[in-house]
């Protein structure tokens, strides 16, 4: 109660409302630009926070994170390109809804699901900061390995028609993830002597190439793109009946987002995919998934916005950033000489309370600012294809270039675009590649690290209880999905 009172008080003593609004607006813009990940959007603001007081600076950065997680869904729905990694799951049904002329509704669902996610995540952040962070503390290398395997097992359901093609795509992603510095010996792998590849291939670059560039290439091959958004399309919130239908999937998003946010290394991307998958499993309208299901937007968008608040939990409780975005936030604290960790609740309580209050404002401002920015966004996608594509192309490349001012990165994005184009021609899905790329390093490094600890004994993966639990769930999940057709066949004769 004390915390709440102080948080509200801080809202009136610092320009918190202004900072939160500016943060959200900038976040939505950055999130909506493919190539600018939430962490990059936040990092671009960092230099400006030197001049601010600590509370304002932290509110600005955290609000940017909130806005960016929502903003990523706008291009996902409108141009089939996720603006952020975590919006990749939204592409599946969001773009299908757009094709059916329901872009306005899709955007409305994404926005209000995002607000629900942010608010729920904030409550979790305030309530659970200390107790729940202890769970993350008991994660050992074998547990992380098993977590990664559970994430990879989702490939089974993401493969669409052909499991073999899904596996090809997933393994390709895992292969790309091995480029860079060997996690145990520190030697170079597949870097061909270039310093640019030492840090590995950044997933964001591959994703921009696979999704955005290949889409532009495909559109360039079509004479006149038949897909056009209804020019009258306006942001449209779902009616009461639809809102009630969406509620379960949003709850799933909330829960998944909370857990994934707390576990370092998991993050919004994994949360979105797991939430999408769970929402599909529990839905009464399973058949609509992949064909423009509103639940397929609500679940991942709730999840990734929940993560934008819950990812801060391990940062505050341990000083351990679990994702790129929270690492930038940590940078914001460090600039102002604040040591992040358990003692922050004692030594810099005002900043923590300010952060809570600022996130509350940001969650609410998200609704208003999100609606205000929607008009221009919808107008934009109604421009003639040729202009729009040229504009997007310029946007993507300037965005990518702004990350490291590296021409090498541009080459990488183009190469990924060509690979994506070929994958489309062969009907190989992208999402398993993305998952492999994001999780490959986590899986490999923790597998090897666990074996260094155990002295090469593989039993460490079953004696660690968390690892055993995850591996069991992953096994059941794969058997359940792969075995489904067989079970169905077994049942049929009995019925007839």
């Amino acid at each position: 109660m004390d915390t709440l009172a102080q948080s509200i008080q801080i809202l009136f003593t610092t320009p918190a409302i202004l900072m939160a609004s500016v943060g959200v607006a900038w976040g939505i813009l950055g999130g909506a630009l493919p190539g600018l990940s939430p962490s990059i959007t936040m990092a671009l603001l960092l230099p400006f926070t030197y001049a601010l007081d600590p509370t304002s600076a932290i509110i600005l950065l955290a609000s940017t994170y909130v806005g960016a997680e929502y903003g990523g869904s706008i291009p996902a729905i409108l141009i089939r390109t996720p603006g952020t990694n975590a919006a990749a799951a939204t592409v599946i049904d969001g773009y299908e809804m757009n094709r059916k002329g329901k872009a306005g509704l899709a955007l409305g669902i994404s926005l209000y699901s995002g607000v629900i996610g942010s608010l729920f995540g904030l409550v979790m952040l305030v309530v659970l900061s200390e107790p729940l962070a202890r769970i993350a503390l008991s994660f050992r290398p074998p547990s992380y390995f098993a977590l990664g395997i559970l994430g990879l097992s989702v490939i089974v359901t993401l493969s669409g028609g052909s499991l073999v093609k899904g596996m090809i795509a997933g393994i390709f992603g895992l292969m790309v993830a091995t480029v860079g510095t060997d996690p145990v010996t520190g030697g170079n792998r597949f870097t061909f002597g270039t310093a640019e590849l030492l840090g590995g291939i950044e997933p964001v670059l591959v994703m921009v190439g696979l999704f955005a560039v290949s889409e532009l290439l495909v559109q360039a091959t079509q004479k006149d793109a038949p897909i056009r958004v209804e020019s009258k399309a306006r942001i449209q919130f779902p009616g009461w009946k639809l809102a009630k239908r969406l509620l379960p999937s949003q709850m799933i998003g909330n829960v998944v987002g909370t857990f994934e946010g707390i576990m370092p290394g998991a993050g919004g991307t994994v949360a979105s995919f797991i939430a999408y998958n769970e929402a599909k499993r529990w839905s009464r309208h399973k058949e609509e998934f992949g064909k423009g299901s509103p639940e397929g937007i609500a679940a991942p968008e709730t999840a990734n916005n929940t993560v934008s608040a819950t990812a801060i939990i391990p940062l505050l409780a341990f000083g351990i950033p679990g994702s790129n975005s929270t690492a930038v936030l940590l940078g914001g604290f460090l600039i102002h000489g604040i040591t992040v960790g358990p003692m922050i609740f004692v030594k810099s309580a005002a900043v923590v309370h300010g952060l809570y209050g600022g996130l509350l404002v940001a969650s609410i401002a998200q609704l208003a600012i999100g609606m205000a920015m929607m008009g221009p966004c919808i107008w934009l996608v109604n421009r003639p294809r040729a202009y729009l594509n040229a504009f997007i192309f310029a946007l993507i490349f300037s965005g990518v270039f702004s990350i490291h001012q590296s021409l090498f990165d541009l080459g990488l994005v183009l190469a990924a675009g060509v690979v994506g184009f070929i994958m489309r021609l062969l009907n190989i899905p992208f999402l398993p590649t993305v998952l492999g790329l994001v999780l490959g390093f986590l899986v490999e490094s923790n597998y090897r690290r666990a074996l260094v600890i155990s002295g090469g004994d593989h039993s460490i993966f079953v004696t660690d209880p968390i690892s055993l639990g995850f591996l069991t769930v992953a096994t059941l999940f794969v058997l359940g999905s792969v075995g489904k057709p067989f079970f169905a066949k077994m049942r049929k004769p009995r019925l007839s």
């Binding site: 030697g187 870097t191 640019e196 030492l198 370092p264 600039i335 390093f441 600890i453």
Partner: protein, 318 residues
């Protein structure tokens, strides 16, 4: 109000004119750019930005910080190597620039840069979880000899791993497994939950856990005891000759004129004595460790030679 602003502006201009005429010799330049490979908010970035606040007046120039990220420092090295050697541009050195030079094949390496002076060293300490059974470094080493030890280093190709490998050899603790991570945060979790016996890190990095009494520091790799942790023995005093100086200094392009180097040799000790700055860097556990130009070059050379030998011995490079 407008009048006030105008007056203030005129005053500022006057000061600027005065300081310009006061420094009418060749060096310093109007603007000195300090380059770091670290991104905004990273270790070297914070170091340079704090330093630049006090350096501007000591050097009599406008000091600005620029982040040239990417390629683990290779981009920043390349930028420096091709810059004019007129004292207008410098680079913040850390062991990273040696490691990157040795590990990858960048177009410019540490050999293409001229070390100017050193400013600080970051003390590296060896620590364990507060509830672990080890009350001294010797207990950790004994455990590693008798059964099996798990010692954590933040990154595979790092000074921290190098220190642990040296300690392992010096102590003859053959059963110690050195477990590498993707950064200090990762490793801290594994120390706190008891997966690792000990971890190695900079005092700055582990400060918040130390204040929260979640960890205990067993020993320091510095050559002398730390002011902020007076009870912690040095590894050397415990009988293992492993000492590290994780340096933070300044380097420039090759062929810097003597007056530029002289200006820095004068400015850095002056800045380090500034009471306000002293309070700031002491609080963040940086140890002032000024090394003049004549000694800094050989220091970097020997550091690089030692690192190269380690990387070859552990099979990271050929």
């Amino acid at each position: 109000m407008k009048g006030h602003l105008f007056m203030a502006g005129a005053f500022a201009l006057g000061i600027a004119a005065f300081s310009a005429s006061a420094s009418a010799q060749d060096y310093p330049k109007d603007t000195v750019t300090l380059i770091t490979h670290s991104s905004v908010g990273g270790g070297s970035d914070v170091f340079l930005r704090e330093l630049s606040k006090y350096l501007s007046s000591a050097l009599g120039a406008n000091v600005i910080v620029e982040n040239v990220t990417g390629g683990s420092g290779a981009n920043a090295l390349a930028r420096l190597a091709s810059a004019p050697a007129d004292g207008s541009i410098f680079y913040a050195t850390t062991p990273t620039f040696i490691y990157t030079s040795l590990l990858s094949n960048p177009e410019a390496t540490y050999k293409d840069l001229e070390p100017v002076v050193n400013v600080f060293t970051d003390p590296e300490v060896i620590y364990t979880a507060a509830d672990s059974p080890y009350d001294s470094l010797q207990a950790v080493i004994d455990h590693a000899k008798a059964e099996r030890g798990t010692w954590g280093a933040a990154n595979p190709a790092s000074l921290e791993r190098q220190l642990l490998e040296r300690l392992k050899t010096a102590a003859g603790a053959e059963n110690a497994a050195i477990v590498t991570h993707e950064g200090g945060g990762d490793m801290m979790i594994n120390v706190l939950n008891g997966t690792l016996d000990v971890g190695v890190g900079e005092v700055q990095e582990v400060k918040s856990q130390l204040e929260a009494k979640q960890i205990r520091v067993l020993a320091t790799f510095s050559d002398e005891k730390l002011e902020t942790l007076p009870d912690v023995p040095t590894v050397k005093s415990l009988g293992y000759d492993v000492v590290a100086r994780k340096f933070r200094g300044i380097a420039g392009p090759k062929g810097l004129p003597a007056d530029v180097i002289a200006a820095w040799e004068k400015a850095i000790p002056e800045v380090l004595d500034n009471p306000e700055y002293k309070a700031a860097y002491t609080a963040s556990d940086l140890r002032p460790d000024f090394i003049p130009h004549a000694e800094y070059g050989p220091f970097i050379q020997s550091f690089a030679a030692e690192t190269e030998a380690f990387l070859k011995q552990s099979g990271v490079i050929k």
